[in-house]
């Protein structure tokens, strides 16, 4: 084992060829994960609420789209976007944005079902209490159901985000120079150190995911409130 190859390419692993060239490596992985996470949270929330709509002509089509996306491998979604978006917009589409859109679609579909479970997990009495005071349905959702539901959803959201961090590695397939892509580049260039390189990469992914899980555990404690009996 010779870990000199890691030391030699450390900055490249971390930030790619930035600032002279494009951002890459760990920095790009984090960028992809955080951006897709924020976007998929927003769309997941939206899709989740639509899927629990009392109107069937809203909930059924929403569920159809969600199940369609969930029934397809992520790699396939990335390919879809990669070939579809340029065709749709009539010009080339930046790979990074393509991957973010694909990750967002995929993760939002899963997030929506977390939201759905969270909303449906709130006791009926809570909805009835809000309704009986004259609040409109959306107000009951906004002020009573979601604030309680979202706190219950935090652990599942964290799981999803950790998956998302790991899923960014699939971006290498369309040539986005995130951590995995950078690793294959270095591996191809140096030829002799695949074990060292990929051990290191695995460790970096682990540290990313683990530190995030720890952070969220702390967040969960801060947001928890004593449940009424």
């Amino acid at each position: 084992m010779d870990f000199q190859v890691i030391a030699d390419n450390f900055t490249y692993f971390m930030i790619g060829s930035w600032p002279k060239g494009d951002l890459g490596g760990v920095a790009l992985t984090i960028y992809l994960a955080v951006t897709s996470c924020l976007l998929s949270f927003i769309f997941g929330l939206l899709l989740g609420l639509l899927s629990v709509s009392r109107h069937r002509f809203i909930s059924l089509p929403t569920m159809l789209v969600i199940n369609l996306v969930r029934g397809v491998p992520l790699l396939m979604v990335i390919f879809w976007m990669y070939f579809l978006l340029p065709a749709f917009f009539g010009h080339g589409f930046p790979e990074i944005r393509t991957v973010i859109i694909a990750l967002t679609c995929f993760t939002a579909a899963y997030m929506s079902q977390i939201v759905r479970a969270g909303v449906e997990g709130i006791p009926r009495g809570q909805l009835e209490a809000g309704t009986s005071t004259g609040l409109k349905h959306w107000q009951v959702m906004l002020y009573i159901v979601l604030p309680q539901g979202l706190r219950n959803m935090i652990p599942s959201f964290v799981n999803q985000f950790v998956s998302l961090i790991k899923d960014t590695s699939l971006a290498f397939i369309v040539g986005v120079s995130e951590l995995t892509h950078v690793a294959t580049q270095v591996n191809n260039r140096t030829m002799a150190y695949p074990t060292e390189i990929f051990l290191f990469i695995a460790l970096v992914y682990f540290l990313l995911c683990y530190s995030f899980t720890s952070l969220s555990r702390w967040l969960e404690k801060r947001l928890s409130w004593r449940k009424s009996v």
Binding site: A129, S132, T133, G134, Y143, P147
Partner: protein, 252 residues
């Protein structure tokens, strides 16, 4: 204030409300009692449309519930509802539990809403608990907060669905006395309860239900002294002398 005419409701094959006709006038306190499964809870839940009905008409405060032009949320704001399980919002303080609806529906400014909430809390004897969370309160205290929350919209009618059934015996009194004060202040009330002491002292009229129908309707004195139906007599016997019911079972 409340008028039900020929109300029917089915859950699948079960006929839970069978030709209900009743009337509650302004300032009146109506107690609804009956064995479990008699449809009394379902009945009170139809009054603010928590449960839809299949047939008949319900008119509350001059508004027809079935009429498409009736703004059901506006009507619900005029009708306070107190649940058996309190249903306080666990993520909000007592103060915010009470002020949520006035602030969001009536757009009452926060300070004004909080002043009113403090008055209501004083009225139910819990002024010092305004900053507490529901989980920090006893069942009786939670139910009194729930009553204050229902009163915060200045309702013209109050509905109570077994408000003391989920409470420990020593907490029932505090909730009933709040309800009694409310009745004295002239509030129109419909109360589903097994508390026959409350019915005797506070109610203007008692309704006895069984199997989805109203079997008996009378002033409390008459209802308790000379119940007309066997079913009502049985029910009262079991409720007023629980040991009697137990010993007959043991003998059998």
């Amino acid at each position: 204030m409340i008028q039900c005419k020929g109300v029917h409701k089915w859950f699948k094959d079960l006929h839970v409300l069978n030709d209900i006709n009743l009337q509650v006038t302004k300032g009146e306190v109506l107690v609804v009692c009956g064995p479990s499964g008699s449809g009394k809870s379902t009945l009170i839940r139809t009054i603010n449309k928590l449960e839809p009905i299949n047939e008949g008409t319900i008119i509350v405060d001059g508004m027809d519930l079935a009429d498409r032009k009736t703004d059901i949320n506006k009507l619900r704001a005029e009708v306070g509802f107190v649940f058996q399980q309190f249903n306080l919002y666990p993520h909000l303080s007592v103060m915010n539990n009470i002020t949520l609806a006035p602030r969001k529906i009536r757009k009452t400014p926060r300070r004004e809403a909080e002043e009113q909430a403090m008055q209501l809390l004083a009225r139910v004897g819990l002024a010092e608990k305004h900053a507490a969370y529901p989980s920090q309160l006893s069942g009786g205290q939670q139910q009194r907060v729930a009553i204050a929350r229902a009163l915060a919209m200045n309702p013209r009618i109050m509905l109570f669905d077994e408000p003391t059934s989920a409470l420990d015996p020593e907490m029932i009194g505090e909730v009933l006395s709040v309800m009694q004060d409310l009745a004295r202040s002239g509030m129109t009330m419909m109360v589903v309860t097994h508390e026959m002491g409350f019915a005797r002292e506070v109610a203007n009229r008692v309704i006895f239900m069984d199997a989805g129908t109203i079997l008996e309707e009378a002033p409390p004195a008459q209802f308790f002294r000379t119940p007309q139906h066997d079913r009502a007599r049985q029910f009262l016997n079991q409720l007023l002398t629980p040991m009697h019911g137990a010993s007959t079972t043991a003998a059998a």
